[in-house]
């Protein structure tokens, strides 16, 4: 099937005649036609008798298909003391099934030419069926060989050790443990010790109880009709037995900090400080959801928003910074926070500027109509350019499914954000942003930072370990 490149490629080399000397008027931005309206692709949803939900988007623009498997609710169902179990499970199912040894499975995936994992693949549509069959085999029939368990634990342990060298990973862990509480599922992270404590029985039981069709949603986007996709899904997943539990994984409501505090974690001689600044926010079921989306965009969504302007463009204190609500599942509490790597010697200045911007947005410099227009273009106006590829469409639908949101989420989103006003955004800022109850985490050089941060008079400075616990 080698086609003639010359015949297929319409290459036309043209010499364009020189323009007349008349100059283009560049003094004004060209008038743009009305924007194309964004409509999220139509989603067909079906549920198999065993409880497996399938979301399908048909699009034949490319001979590709993107598939995701969403398992409720990810690492949130790790039992206490066994953090990492879910991750270990999704790795181990690649190491052998009752139909194929680990070697055969690996070889079959290589043969298909696209990486196929238990939770995702993107491939040419001609290979949807064999790829889906392998995905189903991994999810439905894993054997968890003992030697594979040790190997995967070693890999995860190595990854944990690598993470310990990354300030942003350590900083986020500390931030989450201080905001949500050290034992909260959002703050739970695997450790070498608790990985070692996980037994093969734990894994087998976990998979048998939770990784079951009633807790799984499949997303299929691309060059396949819904009927054909459903037939393939039935063939591959129809025999999966509904069993075990329906995952709810609801999480406790944290109380949050009572007063603004700086938590300093020592990383000697760091040229930059890694900084997290934020506070608890409401669940996304809040009536203020759309106002907070607009607020996040105009405050810390992108270049041109308040925090990037203040810290990067005006003062060169950082290379990049964001500060927005970070939503989780529909009913979950969230953090509204920002992070950045800032020039170590100016960490105190960066925090002073940052907190004064937080203070200002709650009243003194309430959001303006112009800022809101900009926020709408960042959030709603850019949906078409941000949800472009089959992969991106599939990822978005997977996120909606994982977050337990209505599948009409994006249609509602456009309407919702367009309906907010400067007054409603200002009110949301005043209600949900409290500079006096902010958690600030700084990972950096204690020797130089501790005196400077104390002198900045932002709040008490508490030196903490990598788990967020105070140290002398």
């Amino acid at each position: 099937m080698i086609r003639s490149i010359a015949r297929v490629a319409m290459c036309v080399a043209l010499l364009v005649p020189a323009l007349s000397a008349q100059q283009v008027d560049r003094s004004k931005r060209p008038a743009a036609p009305p924007p194309p309206s964004f409509v999220f692709p139509k989603i067909e949803t079906r549920t198999l008798p065993n409880g497996l939900v399938v979301h399908i988007v048909e699009n034949h623009a490319l001979p590709l298909v993107a598939v995701r498997a969403v398992i409720q609710s990810g690492s949130l169902i790790d039992p206490a003391g066994k953090a990492g179990l879910f991750t270990l499970d999704t790795l181990l199912v690649r190491d052998g099934t009752t139909k194929m040894s680990g070697d055969d499975l690996s070889s079959a995936i290589d043969e298909l030419g696209a990486p196929i994992t238990p939770t995702r693949f993107t491939t040419v549509s001609a290979q949807l069926e064999p790829s889906l069959t392998l995905m189903a085999d991994m999810l439905m029939r894993p054997t968890f060989p003992a030697d594979a368990i040790e190997r995967r634990k070693a890999q995860l342990t190595a990854a944990l050790q690598r993470d310990e060298g990354v300030s942003s990973v350590i900083g986020l862990r500390i931030f989450n443990s201080l905001l949500f509480g050290g034992e909260h599922p959002f703050a739970r992270v695997p450790t070498t010790a608790n990985l070692a404590a996980i037994t093969r029985d734990d894994i087998v039981k976990f998979h048998d109880t939770y990784v079951r069709p009633q807790n799984v949603a499949l997303v299929i986007v691309g060059d396949v009709t819904p009927q054909a996709a459903l037939a393939l899904v039935r063939r591959a997943f129809g025999d999966w037995e509904r069993k075990g539990e329906v995952v709810t994984a609801s999480v406790p409501t944290p109380t949050g900090p009572s007063a603004t505090t700086i938590y300093l974690h020592d990383r000697p001689k760091s040229p930059q400080s890694t900084v997290f600044v934020g506070q608890l926010g409401p669940a996304r079921t809040t009536p203020d959801f759309y106002a907070l989306e607009a607020l996040g965009a105009l405050f810390g969504g992108a270049a041109g928003s308040r925090i990037p302007q203040a810290l990067r463009e005006r003062r060169a204190l950082t290379y990049s910074v964001v500060h927005t609500p970070v939503w989780r599942r529909a009913d979950d509490p969230i953090a509204i926070f920002g992070s950045s790597n800032v020039d170590a010697a100016k960490t105190d200045s960066a925090l002073i500027v940052w907190l004064s911007e937080l203070q200002d947005v709650t009243g003194k410099r309430a959001p303006t109509e112009a800022e809101l227009t900009y926020a709408r273009s960042l959030t709603v106006g850019s949906l078409a350019t941000r949800i472009e590829t089959f992969d991106e469409v599939a990822n978005r639908i997977a996120l909606v499914a994982q977050s337990r949101l209505p599948i009409t989420y994006y249609d509602d989103y456009v309407r919702g954000v367009n309906a907010v006003t400067p007054a409603s955004v200002g009110a949301a800022a005043a209600k949900h942003i409290d500079p006096k109850r902010t958690v600030i985490v700084v990972v950096g050089d204690r020797a130089s930072l501790e005196p400077a941060l104390k002198a900045a008079n932002i709040g008490p400075v508490v030196v903490v370990d990598a788990g967020g616990k105070p140290v002398p």
């Binding site: 080698i2 290459c11 743009a32 190595a158 000697p268 041109g304 960042l378 992969d391």
Partner: protein, 479 residues
């Protein structure tokens, strides 16, 4: 605004670059895996600007890229970092666009970009994805800054940009474990006058230079005859051609640009280096050779070799190191191509207390086999399948298509070079892969022990001769 040999770039260079529309090898098939190239119209303006137009109405958006042929390799001694600095300065306003407004105008129109611009060893690219109603606006913006680059910058603003770049280097290089490894590898392989080097290198030269010197160096490269623009997406080709002509046609042609002749420093023997890093907790071993360039016909064979050497559970280094002997937690092999050279690299992370010297021995023995014995038909078929499929999945986004088209035009005078290369790869034979192993995996190579600071006892084969001073990220970071 990031540099190269970043993971994304490696991925792009090593695997992607591919595109569109059709086909691919069915499982188990022996048929060659081939793809159909993107369709396009090529326009050359009298001032030398080349425009590549790839019309596709499947979504109401357009990917845009302007690629200038200036990279870190164009910087002579004393001018290092200038190309990357000028990339930043291109956002500082133009005759009709106030400083700092470029991104805001794009965003206000619903446009986005993941990084907006990147400076690599060989070129500097600027890119955006915009709703299709913004076509004229984006051409106005891009042409305005090509018309008179750097006109609003002054020494105050230059200081701000220096500060931003210093923070960029610290965030992406000095602040992450072994963040300087690629930089050290590249300079070790390609040192010399005008060497290939990290585009986001040490700050010394850009801190010393005046704005006049910087502008004088960069301006000749920011000319239409040294640029390629590609559009991919929802437009009418005839109308787009007229708009590109309208906005870019009156920009004056610059003097012809010369790029330095690049020769890899002949490496007669092995160079053994140590990279210490205060942020790292676990060591790694890296072995790197000079590889094939973008247009070098050996590129496909080296990519196939990387695929076979990396292997899976049943073959190659993954089998040997991770599964059979369980000496490593992972091994990563790739071939990256630059315009005038390339890097072939093997990196492994030890499992537990496995000495790096043991990893080196196993890698060497597998490499020796690859030089003597061709890969199996099956290994090669896996490579061909993934190569073709990646060329399609990797070109879903319009900006990636635009990037691929400008790269082919800029480096090979052929926008769809990528597709010809993928289709040529479908005819590779196992013996060709073995020949490439013999030609490239030579004694002249870099062996780098990457260890946590102070853990010099962990280096591979300490009895052999190591270069001094040792490369290092000192705890204090910036040199």
């Amino acid at each position: 605004m990031t540099p190269m040999l970043s993971r994304r770039r490696v991925w792009r260079a090593a695997f992607a670059a591919g595109v569109t529309v059709s086909l691919a090898a069915p499982a188990q098939s022996q048929a060659p895996a081939t793809i159909r190239p993107l369709t396009y119209t090529r326009v050359v303006l009298p001032n030398g600007l080349v425009a590549i137009l790839n019309e596709d109405h499947s979504s109401p958006i357009i990917g845009v890229q302007v690629s200038y042929h200036i990279g870190a390799k164009d910087e002579p001694k004393g001018r290092t970092g200038f190309a990357h600095l000028c990339e930043h300065l291109m956002f500082d306003g133009s005759p009709n666009v106030p400083a700092g407004q470029f991104m805001s105008i794009v965003r206000a129109g619903g446009g986005t970009s993941t990084r907006w611009a990147e400076t690599t060893e060989d070129r500097t690219i600027f890119y955006e994805t915009v709703p299709s109603n913004q076509l004229e606006t984006i051409l106005w913006l891009e042409s305005d800054r090509m018309l008179r680059p750097f006109m609003h910058t002054d020494s105050t603003r230059l200081d701000v940009v220096r500060g931003i770049i210093k923070n960029e280097r610290q965030a992406n290089r000095e602040g992450v474990p072994f963040g300087l490894a690629n930089s050290v590898t590249l300079e070790a392989l390609y040192g010399g006058e005008n060497p290939y080097r990290d585009p986001v290198g040490p700050m010394d030269d850009i801190n010393r230079a005046t704005f006049g010197e910087i502008r004088q160096f960069c301006a000749p490269y920011y000319a239409p005859n040294n640029a390629v623009i590609a559009l991919s997406g929802d437009f009418d080709t005839a109308k787009a051609k007229a708009l590109v002509t309208k906005y870019f046609g009156e920009i004056k042609r610059g003097a012809p640009v010369k790029h330095p002749a690049m020769r890899p420093t002949p490496m007669s023997g092995e160079r053994r280096l140590v990279l210490e890093d205060a942020r790292a907790r676990v060591p790694r071993l890296r072995i790197a050779w000079a590889g094939a360039s973008f247009t070098n016909p050996d590129k496909n064979a080296l990519n196939a070799l990387a695929s076979a050497l990396q292997g899976d559970r049943s073959a190659g280094l993954t089998k040997a190191l991770v599964y059979d002997r369980q000496l490593a937690t992972g091994v990563f092999v790739f071939a990256a191509d630059l315009e005038n050279g390339g890097v072939f690299q093997i990196e492994a992370a030890p499992r537990g207390t496995t000495p790096l010297g043991v990893l080196e021995d196993v890698i060497d023995s597998v490499v020796r086999v690859a030089i003597e014995i061709p890969p199996t038909e099956k290994q090669l078929r896996h490579f061909k399948n993934s190569n073709a499929i990646n060329a399609i999945t990797g070109l879903q986004s319009r900006v990636m298509r635009a990037d691929t088209l400008t790269q082919g035009e800029s480096w090979a005078n052929d926008p769809v070079t990528y597709a010809k290369q993928v289709n040529a790869a479908s005819k590779l034979t196992p013996e060709q892969v073995r020949q490439a192993a013999r030609k490239y995996l030579v004694p002249g190579r870099v062996v780098m022990s990457m260890v946590p600071a102070g853990k010099l006892d962990l280096i591979s084969k300490p009895e052999r001769k190591y270069e001094r001073p040792l490369a290092a990220t000192p705890p204090g970071g910036a040199k």
